[in-house]
Symmetry: C2
DNA sequence: TTTTGAAATGTTATAATATAACAAAACAAA
DNA sequence: TTTGTTTTGTTATATTATAACATTTCAAAA
């Protein structure tokens, strides 16, 4: 489990990714049990593959990885991803046609994504101020919100530093 | 030109769409001149088709409409759309793989989109509070923003009313 | 006015992403 | 152990987007 309070996780040197994955698997297991959903071998494997990357990964990339275990076709991957999306274990990044593991699957949420264009690492948060600003703007215009997509592209702190050094 | 102060334009009964389109064409012309870009017949036509819908429209939908004028292939449409995106005359809605006309092409911006899932009409705004919340959250996490995607799905005021009546 | 080079468009093929439809298998509950 | 439901396999195909190269158009130079 990460020590940070914030649900933010740009990957960096200190990050213990083995532990991070293991933790995520346990949490996922729990979420499925709670929701009385089957965490089958396939679903577990797809979730693990997505989580391992720790960056947005395309469905066909997942497929390639999955095919190392044996034959598999697109619907297999999409169905597993759809399941994981449904119960909130992964999120889809619309602007990249890609998927990321969800960092706080225990409580349903939508969240916002900060994605580094250099190293492709990302951070997921559920920022009260952003949520409030959207809700307030929606209310002002009489719009009733069902779902929101907030994807912010740029450079993570680590890659900014690298960029400064080269220039 | 719409009389509303806000760059919001869910379409409704009062909306004079003929005038709206005509106005948009004039503005687009001006923007191209200013940026010394050619507003060719094709680009003009594609812009007009997108604007006419007044809702997010897919590239292949544009293609179909375009083909009524004569033969055309996907790259033709994508190139025109890419041009229009580049100079800010249209926006792409990533979560729908679709395109919308930009309501304030004279000043570059990114904006946020409220999209009605019932009637598919949309509103574009550039809400200071949302922008500020994103900027502040980014700063807090040391993230440097290059571009943001904010797409909010739900029901426009008009369709909420309709829904209330039927239930 | 003609030439010329760049920009735009046409055309064919194909890549990348995603789903439909139906068959087989796995599984949970009766 | 049966039965019905859920999950997965499999084949085909839909949808969205781009690569590569040929042709045309156009504006500005000569």
């Amino acid at each position: 489990m990460t020590k940070e309070k914030l649900p933010l996780h740009f990957i960096n040197e200190e990050h213990d990714h083995e532990a991070c994955i293991a933790d995520a698997m346990v949490q996922a297991e729990r979420v499925c049990q709670q929701q009385k959903q089957r965490f089958t071998a396939l679903r577990r494997r797809v979730f693990e593959l997505v989580w391992q990357q720790h960056r947005p990964i395309g469905a066909y990339e997942v497929l390639e990885l999955l095919q190392r275990d044996g034959r598999a076709a697109p619907p297999t991957v999409y169905r597993a991803l759809d399941f994981l999306l449904e119960i909130g274990l992964v999120h889809r990044i619309a602007s990249l046609n890609a998927y990321v593991g969800c960092i706080q699957p225990h409580q349903p949420h939508e969240g916002q994504f900060f994605i580094c264009e250099a190293c492709r690492s990302y951070a997921e948060l559920d920022d009260g101020a952003i949520n409030a600003a959207i809700a307030s703007s929606a209310e002002e215009h009489g719009f009733s919100v069902r779902q929101h997509t907030v994807e912010i592209m740029g450079l993570c702190p680590h890659c900014q530093k690298k960029e400064d050094e080269t220039s």
